[in-house]
């Protein structure tokens, strides 16, 4: 999606929040990747990601482009949400509840972008490989459990997992496989 396309989509969502779903689909992976790398566990990552998108939806009309891409604005909200959570023992809810104004986005290192790209590449895997990767890493299931659920042998699941990882690695390096 080009900058112009995204600006048009944001403007449309500001007029009609029903369009927010498209922005969510576009940016979910990047926001989640940013948050997951900075919090302790999956529950916290999910909680903060949810908080980020709810805040973004509530504050959508306050967003102005002014050189800060929409994705960077979302990451900035996520960074604030992480900071709020880290603030123990105090209740600085007033600042925490506000959608941040346009400004310098927080550090997004190349690993965040690569991780978001990796998540996207998982979606592009052949269906059986994608299922195994999601079951193993997102659902945190054992090879045995996955084999039972998919009605396959453990050996077949391990092989699908191996091939998926090999494909992902190659595609991360730019190979057309």
């Amino acid at each position: 999606m080009t900058d112009a396309d995204e600006r048009a989509l944001v403007a449309a969502a500001q007029q009609d929040p029903a369009k927010f779903g498209e922005l969510y689909d576009q940016h979910f992976g990047r926001v989640y990747a940013f948050v997951a790398a900075r919090v302790r566990d999956r529950a916290a990552a999910e909680d903060i990601t949810a908080d980020t998108f709810h805040r973004a939806l509530a504050g959508l009309r306050q967003y102005e482009w002014r050189g800060l891409p929409f994705g960077a604005w979302l990451v900035r909200i996520a960074a604030n949400a992480i900071a709020d959570r880290a603030r123990r023992g105090s209740r600085d809810v007033a600042s925490g509840d506000e959608v941040p104004d346009v400004g310098v986005p927080p550090d997004v290192d190349r690993f965040d972008d690569e991780r978001a790209r990796l998540f996207q590449l998982v979606d592009d895997l052949p269906a059986d490989q994608r299922t195994v990767i999601l079951e193993r890493f997102a659902e945190e299931r054992s090879i045995r459990d996955i084999a039972t659920r998919l009605k396959k042998t453990e050996g077949a699941v391990k092989q699908l997992q191996f091939r998926a990882l090999r494909t992902l690695r190659a595609r991360m390096e730019g190979a057309d496989v």
Binding site: P17, A18, F20, G21, Y24, D25, F28, G29, Y32, A33, A36, A37, R42, A43, A44, A45, E46, D47, T49, A50, D51, F53, H54, L57, A58, A81, D84, R85, R88, G89, S90, R91, V93, G96, D97, E114, R115, L118, F119, V122, I133, L134, R136, F137, A138, E139, E140, R141, I143, K158, Q159, Q161, F162, L165, R166, L168, R169, M172
Partner: protein, 329 residues
């Protein structure tokens, strides 16, 4: 090296990585495997599809609410969901101590409320609870209003032991249940029920629920659900009823909060509960609750701490305080 051998070595390394987070030192042995493990390390952060879909649905519902309510939006302090349980006890500091010791709760706020009692907000996992009432050094003399909560922890047996050593009495010992969790129940010294559980699935908190979930055991759950639908636009996510119509288990959502409801039986008797509910429009929410059969406790009014609030009591004895930040215009 044969592919078969590579696959087995990879799986052994992955198992260690996923169970203990241990960095595997295969690099020296085989760079190809090390490269795959690098990918696997990043995949540990892969989001759950169910979460991604549920959040999208939640946002869609929030968006719908925004539209219906004339583009006003629900505004709430960071970390809060729509509905927060509010436990009123005679010794609030003791309950805060219990929650801290048993569940690793983090006290976020403590103040003296308008009625002279203590008001505190405590974070447990990804959820907030409010605790209020008396304290040894306060004059407050009010009525306790204990609550039943379903709390997910990483290790139910350990949390159960911590609860007992923090002064709770057992309701039922931890046991495996066929509905996908191991759980045990305790009653804290203030009278609150805590159903402590660890889900048997991939995460100790099951998809769709939070660390802390409110439980209601009314005499007739169906009537409570009907009230919640009319007053707060609640949605029934799940309902299992007996052939006689008794609710065995139901999950009802108010925006992003889930209430679990089961008709009273055995030790699970009605415990009228106090709730703090963040809404988009306090006055409109108050009117809807009255129209749904609630009676007034307090009409909408701006509070000195920055919220506009109103209170109602439903026909089952539950008290609902609806709140939103005071509008500045």
């Amino acid at each position: 090296m044969s592919e078969h051998l590579l696959i087995d070595q990879l799986e052994q390394a992955l198992e260690r990585l996923l169970t203990a987070g241990e960095r595997e030192h295969l690099e020296a042995l085989n760079p190809a495997l090390a490269a795959l493990l690098d990918v696997a390390r990043e995949l540990r952060h892969l989001p759950r599809s169910a979460f991604r879909n549920r959040l999208k649905a939640d946002l869609e519902r929030s968006r719908t609410t925004m539209h219906v309510e004339d583009h006003t939006t629900t505004s709430r302090p960071a970390g809060f969901r729509a509905v927060t349980p509010y436990m009123i006890v005679q010794d609030a500091p003791a309950l805060i101590d219990f929650v801290t010791r048993t569940f690793g709760g983090e006290e976020r706020h403590r103040a003296i409320g308008s009625a002279g009692g203590l008001h505190a907000e405590v974070r447990i996992g990804n959820s907030m609870v409010m605790i209020g009432g008396g304290a040894p050094d306060l004059q407050w003399r009010g009525t306790s209003m204990p609550t039943a909560l379903h709390v997910y922890v990483e290790d139910v047996d350990a949390a159960f032991r911590r609860a007992l050593s923090a002064g709770a009495t057992p309701i039922y010992k931890p046991m495996d249940h066929d509905y996908g969790e191991r759980s045990g129940g305790v009653r804290d010294p203030g009278g609150n029920h805590w159903y402590i559980a660890t889900a048997t699935g991939p995460h100790h908190v099951p998809a769709g629920l939070h660390t802390v979930n409110i439980c209601l055991h009314p005499v007739r759950g169906e009537a409570v659900i009907a009230f919640l639908e009319r007053a707060f636009g609640a949605r029934t996510l799940e309902k299992v009823a007996s052939s006689e119509g008794a609710i065995q288990h139901a999950k009802v959502a108010i925006e992003d909060s889930v209430l679990e409801i089961g008709d009273a039986h055995g030790p699970f008797q009605p415990m009228p509960t106090m709730f703090y509910v963040f809404v988009a429009d306090v006055d409109a929410a108050y009117e809807r609750a009255l129209a749904a059969g609630a009676t007034t406790i307090s009409a909408p009014a701006d509070q000195p701490y920055g919220n506009r609030t109103a209170g109602v009591q439903d026909a089952f004895g539950n008290q609902w305080y609806v709140a939103a930040p005071v509008r500045r215009n």
